[in-house]
Symmetry: C2
Subunit: 246 residues, 2 copies
Amino acid sequence: MADALNNSILKSIKTFKTIQSEVQSINRVALSVDCVIFGFDENKLKVLFIRSDLKKYQSKWSLLGDLVKPEECLDTSAYRILKQRTGLDDVYMEQVHTFGDVHRHPAGRVVTVAYCSLINIQHHKLKILDNELHWHDADSVSELAFDHKEIFDTCFLRLQKRVQEHPLGFSLLPGKFSLRELQNLYEAILSIKLDRRNFRKKFFAMDFLVDLNEIEKNVPHRPGRLYKFDYDKYEKKKKKWSGIDF
Amino acid sequence: MADALNNSILKSIKTFKTIQSEVQSINRVALSVDCVIFGFDENKLKVLFIRSDLKKYQSKWSLLGDLVKPEECLDTSAYRILKQRTGLDDVYMEQVHTFGDVHRHPAGRVVTVAYCSLINIQHHKLKILDNELHWHDADSVSELAFDHKEIFDTCFLRLQKRVQEHPLGFSLLPGKFSLRELQNLYEAILSIKLDRRNFRKKFFAMDFLVDLNEIEKNVPHRPGRLYKFDYDKYEKKKKKWSGIDF
DNA sequence: GCAAAAGTGTTGGAAATACACCCATGT
DNA sequence: ACATGGGTGTATTTCCAACACTTTTGC
């Protein structure tokens, strides 16, 4: 009997009303969105946390999130949270994974959809007036509230992978950047050292960096040339088949 | 005022009770899991659909799914659905994406978490007694009920990508398989033609295929050798750094 | 013996890597 | 002048793609 109910929307011969009542019945959960917001500053990958508001997690940091509104789709919710916290809206944002362990939230069942976002720290200088919002080094995140450490780890791994396959990194940099900055970014995200000459060769060969014929200012050494990322050129060139490679 | 409520669980200074009441209030949605179940048969990639039970979608096929139970985590739910429909439980299963458009389901708001599953058709011979369950060619899926076509497309793309980077394909094959079968599998999933000699070279070089010293039976031509996939060997060899490559 | 697929090596080109020196600027 | 990072080229190696013939089995 309970089973018949639970098989719900996919068992055959069921009226719309039956389904509707199931959908609107007790079979519902709270749904939230949590955003892992990455930035890049001082040659380090940063991530944005806020103080948890739960006593249980006092003094713990947590991700930026909120309940999804009844008439709000998931992406919208993620953008809203980002906008509320940072004032930004034109940023890279990607859904990563949904976490639904029954007891992941102490206040009851809350299923959360994790989003990963990349923002350009220079371009907005967060209104970190209230001391609840802080940038942390992404490579030394320890305990977080709830299961947010797991969510962070998942998003960080995803970022490391995605950044190797797609030109996301540019979202973390200013519109104009030097190759040194770009290389620092990759080295920071991936925790590796890259050969400078080969790095340049590779990106020039890709041929979607536009030389702006400008140079860095106020650097205590020979200034580097500045480039921007040409998305259209990338779109035309990007490859489809990479090959089987475990 | 409404905004204060909606900022909910992440605004500071909020008691546990406040949060709890929000979590248990109207801010809840129905949550379902939909499974895109792939199989491989007759050298074709197959996907499992069922007849939609909604009049609105009469005669349309839909994915296998169900509402998530209040005390059930997402993965558990996905495995339950698979088990109920196919009798299998020891299969590859991966969460892919969550779809939460407000009006994606006619009976009210239902957010659904999509899972992708790979099963070995030979190993179970579905109890397709009721004529609601059917295998379809994955390369010619047309209209589906709800937004299931979008969900299917997302899972199919994910499969195509994942199968190139991880040894998932073996889940679709019998425990013992010939290299021809393996190659057919990749060609079917990726819709490409591969050079047989290079394909063999590649997989032998990977060195996690175990030669079983057996040969195919009942084939109308020279029988091929049979192999199995050695997961332990793979675990030791798999690479971490692949390189920046857009 | 014929049809059908199994099995097997080599070669040329492309891409990745490793590596060292001179240059431009700020101090 | 010197310290700092910018900018460049080449040799080597590794990987990938292209390609054809002989072998084994069922019929």
